[in-house]
């Protein structure tokens, strides 16, 4: 047998091995609506806003191009742009923090 660890199911501790896949699973984090994350890997082709700018809900923030589709990222609610983490022309992986709102 491999490495035996304690594994809690409904309050009972079982002695068992874990799998690599289980150990590498993504731990869930509560999404923060103030953080705009990429939802698909692609490239930032255009950014419409600047840090410190007041933006209304529904206005465009940037264009994330992926799979030959230009996706317009919109402001989710009225607010101020706190920080922009990407620049025009960069490639972004999935679930990357692109922009923060105040």
């Amino acid at each position: 047998m491999g490495k035996i660890t304690e594994f809690n199911i409904d309050g009972t501790l079982y002695q068992t091995e874990l799998t690599k896949k289980f150990e590498n699973r993504k731990i869930w984090k509560k999404p923060d609506p103030k953080q705009i994350m990429s939802f698909i890997p692609g490239a930032i082709v255009e950014i419409f806003v600047k840090e410190g700018q007041k933006v209304k809900a529904g206005e465009g923030l940037m264009i994330l191009e992926a799979m030959k589709m230009k996706n317009r990222i919109e402001m989710p609610f009225d607010g101020v742009i706190k920080k922009i983490y990407v620049t025009e022309g960069v490639k972004v992986p999935n679930r990357l923090l692109m922009l923060e709102i105040e």
Binding site: I9, G11, L13, Y14, T16, L18, F22, R25, I27
Partner: protein
């Protein structure tokens, strides 16, 4: 005039075609550590049994300079032969001819042998080693893939379909193996992916090697696309031949029977399982202690190890085993193990192989990632597969059978034919700790020493419910057996189920939670 000239001409033509892509391309193939397509075919089949067809096929492409190219056999070998004296159909893509790329005639050769296999009701073995679609042939090569996929689906559940990945198998090409029953991969040789590393890099900027993206290990450990993993092509061929000894040639037949043999004495069933349900052991040893010659042929050994599936023989007849593995993740059911077991159950049901289920699991795996990955619909596949199966179905509850898992693992309620339990079996809605915390919540919270009361209540619950007799009193299990009786009870129950008829409502097909 004598026939001699014609015969010599034929021989000359054959000789030319048999060179495949020529000396240089063959050297390249060998340098990659790969056998040639013909070597593969002849290594799998009985000696001198291979007969090739369509070796004089030529492509019809006329664009992009293709009209000047001669591609022997159009990059694929098809034919018939025998394995252990029984007929099979086989095709092998020849990487030395235009990278084994699939054009219209290449695909037509494959579909011809597929049609043949289905009509003759013999297993189909497909060896994949191809760069993908032949771009110069455009939509014709896409049409070719489509015709193959359609036939894979048509043949599914009628004849066994085995896919052997011995080179690249990329893009749409991967869907033919994915539609077949068993996929074989070999370390360093097999590569399967929808989109290759280069495209991923240019489009997404993610850098990854072919091996890390879709190598043999990835598909046998992470994705679950492969069923058998081997270190060499020859080991892979032995796996293919061994698998074929366990399965019937088509869905109207039973697997070939072998002379019965007792299990090997080193597997002592009573010494394998600890009485404490939190202690691990290797369930495969329990299987080995009941099957003929202790010969258990595991399927998907490296994927979702919390459930074990595979074939063994009892009294010489093939049996499919589905067993929780307490040694890995405490044997829980989760998305991957549900997929793995459900597909195997459906395979056994389609091919008249009785199912034996060995149960020892604490339920479904809790967690956000599992819930969000869809453990509901994945888990439902097991319920569906067991309920749908009409082959003889026997369950032995070894220790834990909690909650939804108890229902799912071929319970009486899924119409198991025989339900046996060891005296160590615990059949309950959940484990004693969790149950006591809920039932006696108020008492525990109100107590001066909550831990002491909790321990007391857990013990009380264990005493009352953590045994097989409550379920036995309701007839949900047929009898409680001693571990040593397990093999005999299984042999007997399989024997008395041999004429089982279980008729279901007429329908076109069900709608399983794919």
């Amino acid at each position: 005039m004598s026939l001699k000239r014609n015969i010599l001409d034929l021989r000359k033509r054959k000789e030319k075609v048999l060179q495949g892509g020529g000396e240089k391309a063959i050297q390249k193939q060998v340098a990659m550590g790969k056998l040639t397509a013909r070597e593969r075919v002849t290594s799998i089949l009985d000696e001198d049994s291979f007969h090739e067809y369509d070796l004089f096929v030529e492509h019809e492409a006329r664009d992009f300079g293709m009209e000047k190219k001669e591609l022997h056999g159009d990059g694929v070998i098809i034919g018939t032969g025998t394995i252990y004296g029984e007929p099979v159909c086989i095709f092998a893509q020849d990487f030395t001819v235009a990278g084994g790329s699939l054009g219209l005639m290449h695909a037509r050769k494959i579909t011809k042998i597929m049609d043949h296999a289905l009509k003759m009701r013999v297993p189909l073995i497909g060896i994949n080693d191809s760069g993908g679609a032949r771009i110069q042939e455009g939509v014709n090569s896409l049409a070719g893939y489509g015709e193959i996929f359609f036939r894979n689906t048509l043949a599914s559940g009628v004849i066994p379909q085995l896919s052997v990945i011995l080179g690249p198998c990329a893009g749409g090409a991967v869907y033919s193996p994915a539609l077949t029953d068993f996929v074989f991969v070999v370390e360093n040789i097999s590569k399967m992916f929808i989109t290759g590393p280069e495209v991923i890099k240019t489009v997404l900027g993610e850098e990854i090697s072919m091996e890390e993206l879709g190598g043999a290990k990835v598909h046998s450990e992470i994705t679950g696309n492969a069923h058998f993993y081997a270190l060499s092509e020859y080991e892979c061929f032995e796996q293919i031949k061994k698998l074929l000894t366990f399965i019937p040639w088509h869905n109207g037949k039973k697997a070939k029977a072998f002379p019965p043999k007792p299990p090997k004495p080193e597997f002592k069933i009573e010494d394998i399982v600890p009485a404490d349900p939190t202690q691990p052991y290797d369930i495969r040893n329990v299987i080995k202690s009941v099957v003929d010659d202790s010969d258990f042929f595991e399927v998907m050994e490296n994927f979702a190890g919390n459930i074990v599936i595979g074939f063994g023989r009892m009294n010489g007849e093939t049996v499919g085993f589905v067993a929780n593995q307490p040694m890995v993740l405490a044997g829980v059911l989760d998305c991957d193990s549900s997929d793995k077991a459900a597909r195997f159950i459906r395979y056994c049901d389609a091919f008249n192989i009785p199912l034996v289920t060995l149960e020892d699991m604490p339920g479904y795996l809790p967690g956000v990632d599992q819930e969000h990955m869809g453990v509901i619909r994945h888990g439902a596949k097991i319920l569906y597969a067991y309920s749908e199966a009409t082959v003889p179905k026997i369950t032995v509850i070894i220790r834990k059978a909690y909650g939804g898992g108890y229902i799912a693992m071929n319970s009486r309620h899924m119409k198991a034919d025989f339900m046996f339990a060891w005296p160590t079996a615990e059949i309950a809605v959940m484990g004693p700790e969790g149950a006591a915390n809920i039932i006696f919540r108020k008492e525990i919270m109100a107590a001066e020493d909550p831990d002491a009361v909790r321990r007391e209540k857990v013990a009380e619950y264990k005493e009352k419910f953590a045994n097989p007799y409550v379920a036995a009193a309701k007839g949900y299990i047929d009898t409680v057996i001693e571990p040593l009786e397990t093999r005999n009870m299984l042999l007997h129950s399989i024997e008395v189920s041999s004429n089982k008829a279980d008729r279901r409502p007429q329908k076109k097909h069900g709608i399983p939670p794919f």
